[in-house]
């Protein structure tokens, strides 16, 4: 091929060009990883503050309380509580999950797994990170404003998010930050979509791509289409706040016409529902691959899994109305959205069954990436099942805006994605940094995460079913909810425990970076392309672009005579006697 296709870029020599404005997808991936992990810590601390308030209302937050809230004797004040749940949601979704799952794994895995030397547009890739960085700064800056940060919930519904509901610049900076992040995501999407289509190694058909790449590719497509919808929404919201327009303000006199607050909800969820899948698709892809890798079996129905993920992506674009059943939508519409929502169960069930099919009779190796992958299977199963109650109009009317919703979306979006992210980090760490992470600490981290995690989110399902509303500072002013205090304390203690076990991960991560055992080229005995090259890979990844001859999940072939139980994708598929 001619032109700039897959050429070897000169290796950067200065610190600045190597680590700061690097064009190398591997370095950008690590930048996104650090960025995401730092925000994960900030968002996690916010979660603990929220949880403390719900379990021990009126009591000072231990240790940090007096430092953070000196004017209220260490107790989280009501207005700060609203800011905390708003910023917790925003940070976790846009600034922790997105950078880790899409920014870090997307950048690291796509070129390596398809046999490319870099992304199609390395400079755009660099810009994508720095736009995200700028966006993060703007968001953090809003925390120290006189009137505080945005407090209208991560969904920022008007009128909560208009000047009436949120005076001060916090909400405006939130809009600016989200818009900048959208620009960053779109830049990433341009790169991912183009790279997957044009830079696959010779011989690699779409169904020869690892399912991780499938997940990331579908995510990029959804990002490119739906992030601008939110972009339009936040621009109009910003104009309402800054310029005095009335797009989302109702109640103006009939003669001058009225804006429509519910319109923002439509715009938000037209973006928001695909966003759920934008976040979970990379995790699905990673888990689909890892289950096969660590069961030492071909991924059961890999093609069907890829197509099911595609079907879910398509369907995710036409179900958003289920977030708005309580907005006086016509029953005809609610029933249509309910039916469409239920159809998502079909492709979801297909790939879920494929996951179980992959495990069935496998020679399962319980290494840490596998443990976390199995964790995803469990928590995503629970999250998916609780979604049925919310997708059904009749039950949603009762459960809407309760902690049942919070439990459900944390199981799907937080727990699944977090565990999927950890699976990915433990799996690719040796390739990224050339060292192994400590396996014992990883296993302690897994159980220390998995058990409390279910305490938290299953607890949320229970208190929600018991009638506890979300986003209320102190629900226990209502006598009927007082009986839920003990479960809330159980949730909070679980959250503190889970938080504490994350310290083990941080220690393991940092320790392994410098002191971990040197990683061989292929520590997990896996055949995808990135494991054919040194750990960490050289600057240009592949000295010679590999030629792909078989799929990514060739395990346990009885005709193999190499002494290995797997084949590299660069090897001709070994066939048995005819």
């Amino acid at each position: 091929m001619s032109g700039g296709y897959n050429e070897i870029h000169p290796e950067p020599t200065t610190f600045w060009s190597k680590y700061i404005i690097s064009f190398d997808h591997k370095v950008i991936a690590k930048q996104f990883l650090w960025y995401g992990i730092i925000f994960l810590g900030i968002g996690g601390l916010m979660a603990l503050l929220i949880r403390w308030t719900l379990a021990y209302p009126g009591e000072a937050f231990p240790v940090l309380g007096h430092l953070l809230f000196p004017n209220s004797a260490g107790i989280v004040p009501p207005d700060s509580y609203a800011m905390l749940f708003t910023m917790h949601g925003t940070i976790m979704i846009f600034y922790a999950i997105t950078p880790i799952l899409i920014g870090a794994f997307g950048n690291y895995c796509i070129p390596l797994m398809i046999g490319a030397r870099d992304m199609a547009f390395p400079m755009l890739n660099m810009l994508s990170f720095w736009f995200a960085f700028l966006s993060g700064l703007v968001l953090l800056a809003s925390l120290v404003l006189p009137l505080g940060a945005a407090a209208g919930g991560w969904t920022s519904y008007p009128t909560l998010s208009t000047m009436i509901g949120s005076p001060g610049a916090g909400q405006t900076l939130w809009c600016v930050a989200i818009f900048l992040f959208g620009v960053s995501s779109t830049m990433g999407a341009v790169n991912y979509v183009t790279t997957v289509i044009t830079l696959r190694a010779p011989g690699m058909g779409y169904f020869d791509m690892p399912l991780t790449v499938w997940g990331l590719w579908l995510t990029a497509i959804l990002n490119a289409i739906f992030v601008p919808v939110l972009g339009a929404g936040v621009i109009l919201l910003t104009l309402d706040r800054v310029m005095g327009t009335t797009f989302f303000l109702a109640g103006a006199s009939a003669t001058s016409g009225s804006g429509d607050p519910v319109l923002f909800q439509h715009v938000f969820w037209i973006f928001g529902h695909p966003e759920v899948y934008i976040l979970i698709l990379p995790a699905w892809g990673i888990v689909s691959d890892l289950l096969s890798f660590f069961s030492r079996k071909p991924a059961f129905g890999a093609k069907a899994t890829a197509l099911s993920m595609t079907a879910v992506s398509v369907l995710s674009t036409i179900v958003y109305g289920h977030h708005m059943f309580t907005t006086q939508m016509s029953p005809l519409l609610t029933q249509s959205f309910m039916t469409l929502t239920m159809t998502i169960s079909i492709p979801s069930a297909i790939f879920f069954a494929n996951w179980l099919g992959t495990l069935w009779k496998g020679s399962i190796r319980f290494d840490s990436p596998m443990l976390f992958s199995l964790g995803v299977v469990f928590v995503f199963g629970l999250g998916g099942l609780t979604g049925l109650h919310l997708g059904t109009v009749t039950t949603d009317l009762y459960l809407h805006d309760t902690y049942f919703v919070v439990g459900h979306f944390h199981y799907t979006m937080a727990a699944s994605v977090l565990l999927g992210g950890y699976a990915g980090i433990y799996f690719w760490f040796p390739k990224m940094f050339g060292r192994m992470m400590n396996e014992t600490m990883a296993k302690i981290h897994f159980w220390g995460t998995m058990i409390p995690l279910n305490g938290i989110f299953f607890g949320m399902l229970m208190v929600g079913y018991g009638g506890m509303h979300r986003r209320i500072y102190n629900p226990f002013v209502y006598d009927s909810l007082k009986r839920l205090i003990p479960i809330n304390q159980m949730i909070t203690i679980s959250a503190i425990l889970m938080g504490a076990f994350q310290i083990i991960f941080v220690i393991n991560f940092l320790w392994s970076l410098y002191k971990g055992k040197k990683a061989p080229n292929n520590p997990w005995n896996v055949g995808t392309l990135e494991w054919t090259i040194p750990s960490p890979p050289v600057h240009h990844n592949y000295d010679v672009i590999p030629v792909v001859k078989c799929g990514p999940h060739e395990f346990g072939n009885p005709n193999l005579k190499t002494g290995r139980d797997f084949q590299y994708q660069t090897e001709e598929l070994v066939e048995g006697p005819a």
């Binding site: 091929m1 032109g3 601008p228 327009t245 009335t246 797009f247």
Partner: protein
């Protein structure tokens, strides 16, 4: 098609899909405002005079035509003609922005302020958002000037990409012209 051309075309397609989704969302919102309003423009507000929007439409349409000529010139490797047509495109683009500014002053002079309600919100908000994209387009035209001063093999592909974006802005404006001002 060469691989790098395919990459470039794909990337531009994704960019245009993203930008289109932004404007589609605006039009969707507009459809909601229009269909839920008892009368449009709302009582007490007059329809905006078509003169300036029509002038803007003519300016951006002609600029698109010259932008198309730039690509034909580059294809013929007649770079001096290309630079001439590109200058015309840019001047017309700037003229479009002046006409838009005129429109905003005109609205203000007729008592339609930004804060005057949903009609004014749509008129100002949508044209502002489009204008910001036109400014980005003008930067792209400026970049193309630099490219065509010392053209390389990639000049054609860059011309095609800038041309696509410029036409896209024209199409969005024409939709706004008919949607917001004519009907």
């Amino acid at each position: 098609m060469k691989r790098n051309e395919l990459q470039s075309n794909l990337a531009m397609t994704v960019v245009l899909v993203s930008a289109a989704m932004l404007f589609i969302t605006l039009f969707m919102g507009y459809a909601v405002f229009r269909s839920s309003a008892a009368t449009w423009p709302p009582m007490g507000t007059e329809k905006v005079s078509l003169w300036l929007p029509f002038l803007s439409t003519v300016l951006i349409a002609v600029s698109s035509w010259y932008c198309y000529q730039v690509r034909l010139d580059v294809a013929r490797k007649d770079f001096s003609a290309a630079r001439g047509h590109l200058t015309l495109t840019t001047v017309l683009g700037v003229a479009f922005m002046l006409a838009q500014s005129g429109l905003w002053f005109h609205l203000k002079s007729t008592g339609v302020f930004v804060t005057s309600g949903i009609f004014a919100s749509v008129m100002y908000g949508f044209t502002w958002i489009h204008a910001v994209h036109v400014v980005l387009g003008l930067f792209a035209l400026g970049y193309l000037h630099v490219v065509l001063r010392s053209p390389t093999d990639a000049a054609m592909q860059k011309t095609i990409n800038v041309e696509k974006f410029w036409h896209f802005l024209g199409v969005v404006w024409v939709l706004m012209f008919f949607g917001l001002f004519v009907f």
